[in-house]
Every structure is written in structure tokens, then in C-alpha cells.
């Protein structure tokens, strides 16, 4: 469905055209039937990768294909639905006008459109009366829903969503999560970026973690967490600097928490803390989550 090999992108920013490497050799493969999560911190290169796939950005070098066709060509987007991050739509249109406009651009016939508009608005739980209101009166959650609806109009084989849960309240997030699972069960391949790591962990069949423009880990959730099955989570009574932790005594997760990968590092950290006069608030034995793994990967580049 999606194949990306050694994808690179450099932005030129500011008056002096300073170069910033956004992607530094990204390799990615999304197979048919995947519910694929794309995670990473802000600025890691998630949106850049997605925009290159859709032809909104030109790749510096490397290869990207969608449904077997070179990414960026209009034909490659024929069976793709897309929702950008924080979508903005034509606020002078009503919901129905908006969906009809996008449906026509996706190649739907007028007779088909009427049926599809009804179907997708039901799928994303948009009430019929909302469809006749101007988009400028929509709440953020409603805009996200109608954005999803426009992505689904043409019955895409592949759905690419950039942060579909951003800005939604917990119930809205739950709705989107259930919708993604529902679409996946209907055979639609879904590729979506997200900051809500718990959801990615719960619903994705596979995922990729991008940090600093490079894919650090990818595979099933179990594969990504492999080798990180357990760790000790130590919370200190006061804040410390990440670089103050002795080598081999764990990685700082935040100012007061440290992850120790094994018993030996845990012992080293406790000894160091006592020697520094730092109290221990709690020590727990945890299974690593995606959040921990991401924190570890991010810590490697700081």
C-alpha cells in the first residue's frame, strides 16, 4: 500500500535559507489491511512524510509509492482519503455543500453523491441538521468529523490521517478510535499519525516510530516493545538534570522520573541518589509502554 525507501527532505528556512533536515532517510512499509500508527514527537517528520506521500511536498531524494504508483502523482491519490492535521475548510459552505464539492472532485457522480453524503455523515455521527449549517458554526470536533467524512466519500482503499484525534475531547477521541477500528474491519488500510500513544498501542496492527527524521523502530506493538519488556520506574523526591544521572544508571523520563532497564542499573541509581541526598518517592516494576520507548528514543538524540 505504502512503500518508502531512504526518503529525505530538507527545508530552507528564514532569510538566509538555513537548511533544516526534516527527513533523514526514512524507510517505511504499510501493507494491505494494516491499521498503521505513525508516532513521534513534534517536529520528528510525521507530517512531512505524509505530505510527501500525498504530493503536497516534494521529496529531496528517496522513493515513495502509494498503491504501487509514484507518490505525488494525481493517479496515486485516486483511492486515497486524506485528513490533514487541524483541518480548515471553506467556512462559507454548509456541511452538505462541502461534502458535495469534495465528492465531485473525487470523481463521484451526482446521483451517487447524495447517497454517499448520507452514509459517511452517519458513519462519522454528524447529524443531518448539522449538514445544513455553515462550517463556520461547527465546533472543532464537528470539523474533525466532517473532515473524516470527506476523506471517506470516495470509498478509499487507503486512508491517511494526520493527527485525527488532535483537539478532540475524550469522547470524541473514543469515537474516532472506534471509527478507525470499524473502517479497518471493513478492509480499509489506515495509516495515521498520532500523539495519543495509548490508542496506537491499543488498536494498531503495526506502527513506526520516527524521531529526528529517522525511523527508530517499526513493526507490531510487541516487536517495537521487544527488549523493553520490563523496567524499573523510579520517582525521585526532587528534580534532577538528565545529564547528572551516572552512565548505566538509567534514562531520565522527566525531571523527577528515571527508567532503569534492569536490576543492576536500578541499584546504581538508588546508590547514586542516596549519595546525592535525593530521596526516593517510589520504585515500581513496569512493562514498557510506547511512551517509555519513545522517551528513550528521544533521549538518545538530546
Amino acid at each position: 500500500m505504502i512503500q518508502v525507501a531512504d526518503l529525505r527532505k530538507t527545508y530552507r528556512i528564514g532569510f538566509w535559507r538555513k537548511s533544516v533536515e526534516a527527513l533523514r532517510g526514512v524507510d517505511l512499509e504499510v501493507k494491505e489491511g494494516d491499521l498503521y500508527g505513525f508516532i513521534g514527537p513534534n517536529g520528528a517528520g510525521k507530517s512531512t512524510t505524509i505530505k510527501i506521500l500525498l504530493g503536497l511536498l516534494k521529496a529531496g531524494s528517496g522513493r515513495a509509492t502509494i498503491l504501487g504508483l509514484p507518490a505525488g502523482t494525481p493517479r496515486s491519490r485516486r483511492d486515497v482519503g486524506f485528513l490533514p492535521e487541524q483541518p480548515y475548510f471553506y467556512d462559507y459552505l454548509s456541511g452538505r455543500e462541502f461534502l458535495r464539492f469534495y465528492g465531485q472532485l473525487s470523481g463521484l457522480k451526482w446521483s451517487e453523491l447524495k447517497v454517499r453524503v448520507k452514509e459517511v455523515s452517519e458513519l462519522v455521527s454528524l447529524r443531518p441538521d448539522a449538514l445544513d449549517r455553515k462550517l463556520r458554526t461547527y465546533s472543532k470536533g464537528m470539523l474533525q468529523r466532517i473532515g473524516l467524512a470527506q476523506a471517506l466519500l470516495s470509498r478509499p482503499k487507503l486512508l491517511i490521517l494526520d493527527e485525527p484525534m488532535s483537539g478532540l475531547d475524550p469522547l470524541g477521541r473514543r469515537d474516532v478510535r472506534l471509527l478507525l477500528q470499524n473502517l479497518h474491519s471493513q478492509g480499509i488500510t489506515v495509516f495515521y499519525s498520532s500523539h495519543v500513544l495509548g490508542d496506537v498501542e491499543a488498536i494498531c496492527t503495526r506502527l513506526a516510530m520516527i524521531v529526528d527524521g529517522q525511523i527508530r523502530r517499526q513493526g507490531t506493538v510487541a516487536q517495537v516493545l521487544e527488549g523493553e519488556a520490563e523496567h524499573f520506574h523510579i520517582v525521585l523526591t526532587r528534580e534532577i538534570r538528565a545529564d547528572a544521572i551516572p552512565k548505566g544508571a538509567g534514562q531520565a523520563l522527566d525531571a523527577r522520573s528515571v527508567a532503569c532497564p534492569d536490576l543492576e542499573s536500578q541499584r546504581s541509581l538508588l546508590q547514586w541518589a542516596m549519595a546525592q541526598g535525593i530521596g526516593i518517592e517510589s520504585v515500581s516494576r513496569n512493562r514498557h509502554s510506547l511512551e517509555d520507548v519513545l522517551a528513550v528514543e528521544v533521549a538518545k538524540i538530546i
Partner: protein, 267 residues
């Protein structure tokens, strides 16, 4: 062609729902009605004054619409990021440019038609018969605005709204002066040595003047207002050749805009 028309219709809908357009149209209608009073005050024939003034108002309003609405159409899409979902649809980017352009042309045509109606009603009101030649002048005003809109779209494909507005205004001003500049140049070539005090044109300046003349359309070609109002003859094929001249510039501007737009990154 269908996606282009869909985008054009949406651009048309966007513009007719925009308040700025109504303000401009109301202002234009007000000015055309004002020409009735000018006709009363002037020593010239009423019909002449009203026609001359109304055509000038149409030209000015067309220019303002082309600049303000033309630039906004693409820039708003980029700034509000509505362009992301649109360009992610299975259509080439030049469809977007052409669709937006045609949408704005529809708006310009509708507004000119509306102003023409008011103008003709005023002529009928004072007992004058609107001449068919007036429609030729209005057609060329429309063509001139079509060129300016293409230029506005070209600049807005790679520049900020303010800079685009300035560049487009620059094309309008230079387009009305470039013909005069070339005439002055040939005058200086012919008689410069015989007239003391004539400025010396360096080869560089001459090249610059010619570059402006060939890259910017001579917009005075589209101004036949005086000839129509004072009932002077218009060459047999003038309208045809001027139309082709205008269409060539529109084609070139839209082609460059599309090529540029095609290269552009949308972050």
C-alpha cells in the same frame, strides 16, 4: 475539464459570498449613478460624460476586484490550509489554478454585466440610445481585467498577498505606460540628434524599456473608451487582434503560474 469547472464554481460561490465584493459593486453603482449629476454639471453632452465616466468606473472597479479578490483566492487557500485537502484529491495542480481563474472571471463578468445594465438604464433614463460599440469597450475592459487577474494569480502563486498586490498594480501601471515609453524611444531615435536637450538613452535603458514592453502587455490597446464615446472609427480587425494579444498574455501568465505552483511545497 470537469474538476476545473467544479473548482471554478466553488471559487465563484466563495467570491459572491464575500462582503468585499458587494462593497465594491455598491460603490461602483453609486459612482455610475453619480455620473448623472456630472452630466448635468458638465458643458459637454450628457451622454458623452455619462458614458466616459461610467466606463472609467467599470475599468477601475474591475481592476480593484481583480487585485483584491484575485490575490485572495489563492492566498486564502494557502494561509487557511484549505489547499491541503484540495490538492490531496486526484487532480493535477494546474486544474486548481485554472479553476480558480475561471471562477474569478465568472465573477468579473457578472459584475461587469450588472454595471453595464445600470449604465444602460441610466442612458435610457436620459433619453439616449445605448450604442452597440459601448459593448465592445466593455468587452475590452473585461479582457484587460482578465489579464490583470492572470497576473494576480501568477504573483500570488509565489509571493505574499501584499507583494502580489503591489506587483499586480505594477503590471497595470507599467502596462498603461509601456506603449508611451516605446513611442518616446522611437521619437528620440528619429529626432533626438536634431533637438538640443533631448536625453541620451543608453543601450541598457533601451533594453530595459523593450524588456518591459515585451513581458508586460500594452494595456492601452484595451482602452477604446474615448473612440467609442466620441464615435471614432475602430479598425476592422482591431477587436480580434487585441483579443488574441490578450489571450496570449493570459495563457503565458497562467502557464507560468501553473509551473510555479506545481513546484511549490505546501507545509
Amino acid at each position: 475539464m470537469k474538476p476545473i469547472l467544479i473548482i471554478a464554481v466553488n471559487a465563484f460561490r466563495e467570491t459572491v459570498r464575500d462582503k468585499i465584493l458587494y462593497n465594491l459593486v455598491l460603490f461602483a453603482i453609486g459612482l455610475i449613478v453619480f455620473s448623472l449629476m456630472l452630466g448635468e454639471w458638465s458643458v459637454f453632452a450628457r451622454q458623452t460624460v455619462i458614458s466616459d465616466f461610467s466606463l472609467a468606473v467599470m475599468s477601475l472597479m474591475g481592476l480593484l476586484m481583480s487585485i483584491f479578490v484575485g490575490i485572495g483566492l489563492v492566498q486564502k487557500e494557502i494561509q487557511r490550509k484549505t489547499i491541503l485537502t484540495l490538492l490531496a484529491k486526484p487532480l493535477p495542480r494546474w486544474h486548481f489554478i485554472l479553476g480558480k481563474y475561471l471562477g474569478l472571471l465568472m465573477v468579473l463578468a457578472l459584475n461587469l454585466a450588472f454595471m453595464t445594465l445600470v449604465f444602460f438604464l441610466i442612458l435610457i433614463y436620459i433619453g439616449a440610445r445605448p450604442q452597440a460599440n459601448l459593448l465592445l469597450a466593455i468587452y475590452l475592459i473585461f479582457l484587460e481585467m482578465a489579464i490583470i487577474t492572470a497576473a494576480a494569480l501568477l504573483f500570488s502563486a509565489f509571493s505574499t498577498p501584499t507583494m502580489s498586490a503591489l506587483f499586480t498594480l505594477g503590471v497595470y501601471v507599467a502596462g498603461h505606460l509601456s506603449g508611451d515609453l516605446v513611442n518616446h524611444l522611437s521619437f528620440i531615435h528619429k529626432f533626438g540628434s536634431r533637438l538640443p536637450g533631448t536625453p541620451v538613452i543608453t543601450p541598457f535603458t533601451e533594453k530595459m524599456i523593450k524588456a518591459v514592453y515585451y513581458t508586460i502587455p500594452n494595456l492601452e490597446n484595451f482602452n477604446i473608451r474615448a473612440r467609442v464615446v466620441y464615435d471614432l472609427p475602430i479598425g476592422r480587425h482591431y477587436i480580434l487582434f487585441t483579443s488574441l494579444y490578450g489571450l496570449a498574455f493570459i495563457g503565458i501568465y497562467l502557464l507560468i503560474a501553473s509551473l510555479w505552483f506545481n513546484k511549490r511545497d505546501f507545509i
